[in-house]
Amino acid sequence: MTTDQAVDSVPSTISSYLETKAGGPVEHDADLAAAGVLTSMVAMEIVVFLESTFGISIVGRDLKLDNFRTVDSMAALVTRLRENRDNA
């Protein structure tokens, strides 16, 4: 139960952050790049937000656009980097 909540909370934490940026609701599977939301400025803010909120660091090839295209893909990236960190 506790674990499920922790997993569920990643996408919703991300979408609530993005909603403050987008000025409206953000679906978890909405393509943010196609909507033109991901300017360099917003992308940078999102990277810093994910790193500081989830205690991860996103570098090199992990910075590719596909990892940030939707809330779901960002959540998957966060989950993977957290597992790598915890297994290290």
């Binding site: 987008a22 000025g23 360099s40 992308a43 990277v47 910075l63 590719k64 656009l65």
Partner: protein, 360 residues
């Protein structure tokens, strides 16, 4: 010596003869208009700090035909050091870059006490300020001559953005942004040099290109020096970016991409990269881009990575000299892509090599 970037004027018995509250037909001091125009041409901003009735003073400045020369005028009854400080803060200038001219010794003393770094001049000097070295910038570029208009456009744009309710994307669309990418001309090289120095956050390699080096590069068809300018319905942003590119048989090598911080939120860097990708695709070459990570330019790495640049080595890099220590060489195989949802682009044709040198 720090050059003055903004001169703040007193009005009564400094800009004009007499006291407005006693005579609403005051006229400009002889020679002052020449100073105002000369400084404006050089890109030195001018403002007002006056103890006066604001409506009356602004109306008289308009009647005299000079109101437009002054940005962020502060007219009221508070201390002038507060007015000068507010002007500096709103312009994001250090006090060292601000000067103040007033006929009253006690007003100058009050500003000097509150803001020791601000240079103060008596009114008698107003007509000869343009002769002083601190009011004589080393280079005067196209952007200097329109700097005031760029700031005024910026103030109107910021006000509208603050009042805008809705998604950021909609606001950007409403700006009617237009970007021009062109091959640099000799006249622009001063500004290009300046951009390579000042853009620490938005500079991919931190390499400084001196004007002479750039002049040599634009004369050689193996190199491209490209300048990026942006305008919108409020007015010009001026020169906001530079690309330095080398042509190799199988790849174009981006040695520098630098953009002004003022245009990051518009997605300007990404548009320049998208355009380069399309041009490279048409020319049948790959793209290579050098990137030197620093503590401040991470946003440029994000821009490159989001545009699809990767670390994987490619044979196209064969003829290039190895990069310096600490420099990543990113690679991309181009495929046609959308440019920008919000900025209209007019750009040079990169499939034609740069013009050859005219000089013998």
């Amino acid at each position: 010596m720090t050059h003055v970037k903004c001169l703040v004027w007193d009005l009564d018995n400094t800009l004009w003869n007499g006291t407005l509250l006693e005579d609403d037909r005051v006229e400009l001091v002889d020679g002052v208009l020449d100073t105002v125009r000369a400084l404006d041409e050089r890109g030195i901003l001018q403002s007002v700090a006056s103890k006066n009735d604001a409506d009356l003073a602004l109306r008289r400045l308009t009647e005299l035909g000079v109101a437009d020369y002054f940005v962020l005028p502060k007219i009221g009854w508070g201390p002038k050091s507060d007015s000068v400080r507010e002007i500096a803060e709103e312009l994001r200038f250090a006090p060292e870059a601000v000067a103040f001219v007033d006929d009253q010794p006690q007003e100058r003393a009050e500003v000097e006490f509150g803001l020791p770094a601000v240079r103060c001049y008596p009114a008698e000097q107003a007509v000869s300020l343009a002769e002083l070295p601190e009011f004589t910038p080393t280079t005067v570029t196209t952007d200097s001559r329109r700097r005031r208009r760029m700031y005024q456009a910026g103030f109107r744009r910021d006000a509208e953005r603050a009042a805008f309710r809705g998604p950021d994307q909609e606001f950007l669309r409403s700006l009617e942004l237009e970007m021009t990418i062109g091959k640099a001309t000799g006249q622009e090289l001063g500004r290009v040099e300046e951009l390579t120095v000042r853009t620490t956050q938005m500079n991919t390699t931190g390499v400084f290109y001196a004007e002479d080096t750039l002049r040599g590069m634009i004369a050689n068809p193996a190199h491209e020096v490209l300048t990026v300018t942006i305008t919108d319905r409020f007015g010009p942003y001026g020169a906001v970016g530079v690309v330095v590119l080398d042509r190799h048989p199988d790849a174009w090598h981006v040695k520098l991409l630098a953009t002004s911080c003022r245009v990051v939120s518009l997605g300007a860097g990404a548009l320049v990269l998208n355009w380069l990708v399309n041009e490279a695709e048409r020319a049948g070459v790959h793209l290579l881009a050098d990137f030197r990570p620093t503590e401040r330019n991470r946003i440029m790495e994000v821009t490159y990575r989001f545009a699809g640049f990767e670390d994987d080595p490619c044979a196209c890099a064969g003829p290039l000299p190895a990069q310096d220590d600490g420099v990543l060489r990113l690679h991309l195989t181009p495929a046609p892509r959308e440019l920008s949802p919000v900025i209209r682009l007019t750009a040079a044709d990169l499939s034609e090599p740069a013009r050859t040198s005219v000089a013998s």
